[in-house]
Amino acid sequence: MIDIGYFALCLALLASGYGVIASAVGARRGQLGLVRSGENAVIATCALLTMAVVALWQALIFHDFQVEYVAENSNRSMPLFYLVTALWGGQNGSLLFWGWILSLYSASVVALYRQRYRELMPYVVATLAFTSFFFCIVHLFAADPFQQLSFTPPDGRGLNPILQHPVMAIHPPLLYLGMVGMVVPFAFAIAALLSGKLDTTWLRASRRWTLIPWTFLGFGLLLGGKWAYVELGWGGYWAWDPVENSSLMPWLVATAFLHSIMIQERKGMLKVWNLALAILTYELCIFGTFMTRSGIISSVHAFAQSNIGPFFATFLIFSLVFSFGLLWLRLPLLKADNRLESFASRETAFLLNNWVLLGMLFAVFWGTVFPLVSEAFTGEQITVGAPFFNQVNIPIGLVLLLLTGAGPLFAWRRTSNESLRKNFTTPVTAGLIFVGILFALGLRDLYALLSFGLCAFVTIALGTEFHHGTRARMRSTSENYPMALYRLCAKSRRRYGGYLTHLALVLLFVGFTGKAFTQEFEFVLEKGTSRQVGNYQLSFESLAFAEASNHSTTAAALGLHRDGEFLGTLLPERRYYPAFDQGTTEVSIYSTLREDFYVILVGSAADHSAKFKVYINPLINFVWLGSIVFVLGALWAMWPTPRDRRLARVDRASAVGLLVPRKRPHHA
C-alpha cells in the first residue's frame, strides 16, 4: 500500500504538471481538446492524491511502523479516532493533507464550471494545477510522508499528547480548508489578469469561493481558541502565537476583500485593489503554512521543523513576483468606471473598513516577524508577545467594531445629512446611555467602557436595520412580523447574512472585553479543607493517582459551592506522558453564560496537599456564542439564491460556442 501511495504521488506530480501546460497552451491556441484535457488532469491529480491519503491512513490504522511518519506519530495504544487524526498530527502528513484538500477544491471548481466562466477557466485550472504541482514537489522531495525506516520498530511514539483532544480532530482540518480554499479566488484573479477579462466576472465567481474558506478559517480560529482554553491550561484562548497570527492574517485580508468587492460590483471601482487583495490573501496562506511548518519562529504549533523552508520561500517569492508583476502589466486596463458622489457614503465606509483591516494585518504581521527583523539588525533575540499585540490591536479593533455598526447606516452613493442624523441618533444614544449605566455601576476601565458602549451602538444600529426592513415589508405585504423578517432576510441573503456576522463580532467583543475582568487565584489546599475563591467556596475532597497505558494521571476532586448551594464537582487533572516526557493539564470548568470557574491542578505533594490555579473568566462564553452566530451568518450569506441559479443558466446557455476563449485583441 505504501508503495502505491508513493507511486500515486509521483503520478500526481506528472498529472498536475501536465495540467498546467495543457491548460495554458490550450487557452493560448484556443484548442478545446487541450483545455478539457487539462481539466481532466486536475481531476486525476485529485484521485491520485486521494489514493496517497488513503495509503497513509491505511498505514496508520494497521500500524505499519516501518513508515517513519507512522512510527513518529502513532502507536498501538491509540484509539482508531486518533489514528485517523494522526494524518494531520505531524509535519509530512499535514502537508499531504494540505495538498489533498487543494486537489479537492480544484476538482470541485473544475467539475462545477465545465460550462461556466469559460474565458477564465483554462487559466484558473493552470493556476490551481501549478499550486498542486508545487505541493507534489514538496511531498516527494522535502517532506515525504512515505519515507521508510531501515527496520520496523515494534511500536510507534504516538501522537503528541496535547493534540489528543476531540477538538484537534476538527480544528486543523477547518484551518486547512480555510487556508487552502483561498487558492480559488487567487486562481480567478490570476485568470482575469492573464486572460484580460477584467470585468466583474472573476469577482462573481470568487465571492462564494472566498466566503467558504473564510467561514472555515474564522470558525477554525475560534475553535482553536476553544482548544487552547480547555487544553493548554492557561485560562485564555488567544495568545498571539505566531501560528495563530499566521491564520488570522489571511482571514483579515479576506474580510477586507469580501467588503471591497461590493464596491467593484456596484460601482466598478477598486479593481486593482480587489485583485491585490485576492493575491495577498493567497500569499499570506502560503506564508502562514511556511511559517508554521518551517518553524522559523518559535511556537507551540511548530511541532516539527524540517527542510521545507527553502522550497516554500522560493515558491512564495516566485508567486509574489509573478502575480504582482502581472497586475502591474495590466494596470492600464484597470481604470475605475465611476466617480464618487459624496464622502458620506457606503463607499467611504467600505474604504475605511479596508483601511482598518489592513492596518490590523500590518500590526499582526509586523509583530510576528519583528523578532527576525530585530535579530537580523541587532543580533539580539527578543520576544514579541501578547502585551505588544494587545496594546497595538485593541484600539484598532475598537475602530473596527465602530465601523461594523456605522457602515450599514450609510447609504450607497450619498447619505443626506438628515438621514445620517436619523440613522445615528438612536444607536449613539443607546451606546452613551449604556456607558453611563456601566460608569454609574463602577466600571472605570477605559477600553472596557468603550468596547461595551460600541457593542450597544452596533447592536442597536443593526437591530434598527432589521426592524426597519421588516416594517417596510409589512407595509407592502400582508405578512406578520416574524414572517416579514424571515422573508426580508431570505430575499437579501448577502445583506442580512452579513449583518448577522456583524452581530457575531459584537458577541465576540463582549467576550473579549470580559478578559479585562478576569480574576485569578493561586493557592495550596490540604485535602479535606476548603477556601473562599471569589464568590465561590471550593473544597478539596480527594486526590487520586492512576496509570493509563500511555500516561500517568493525578486528579483532584473539588466540590464547588456558591452561597451554600452545591454547583458541582470539578475534576482537574495533571497527566504525564513518558514517551514525550511531557506533562499536560486537564482543566476543569464550571461554566455559565455569566462566567467560567476554571481550575487547574498545578501540582500535588505526597502529603496530599495540592496547588491549584483558578481563573474566573467573566463573559467568556460570549466568544463561543459569537462563533456559532458567525457561522450561521456566513452560511446564510453564502446560501445559493434563485438568482444564482438563473445566472448559472444564463452562463451555460451563452457558453455554447465559447467553451474556449477566442483570441481577442488587447485593449490598451
Binding site: 492557561w234 500590526a363 509586523w366 533575540q381 508577545g385 506533562g583 439564491t641 438563473r646 445566472l647
Partner: protein, 158 residues
Amino acid sequence: MPSALLLTTLLLLGFSPAQAATREEIKSVAEELVCLCGNCSRESLATCVCTDFAVPEREAIGSALDQGQTRQQVIDGFIARFGSMGLASPPSEGFNLLAWIAPGAALLFGIALVRTLLVNWKGRDNDEVAQARSARADRSQYQDRLRRELDQFDDDDK
C-alpha cells in the same frame, strides 16, 4: 520516581512562608515577562503553569518584591539572568522602538492613502469615467443585458 521527587521539592518551595507581595503585584510583574521553560512557546510568565520554570519564578518574583525590590529591579534581574528574550514585548528603546512605531505609521499612511483616493474619485469628471467605461474588456452584449435585467428583477444584493 525522580521527577515526582523534584515536583514535590519545587512545590514545597512554593508552600513556604506567607508572602507580603499580593498576587496582583506579582501578576503585574510576571505579565511583562515570558516563561522560558522551553516546552511552552514563551507563554506569559503570569499564566504558564509549568512547575519547572514559571511557578518557581513567580515565587521568586514574590520574594524579591518582599525584599523591597522595585518592579523594574525585579524585571531587570530576570533579564540579567535569562536575556532580553525574557521580556514579553520589545523594549521601547533603540532599534526595538521600530516595533512600536511602525503599526501607527502604517495606519497614518493608510488613512492618507484613503483620503487621496477619495478626493481623486470625487474630483473625476465625466469624460474620464466614460473613457474608462469604453476601455473595459468587451463581453457578450446579450449576457450583459440579461444580467442587468435579472439584477433589476431581483434585488438580492441591494
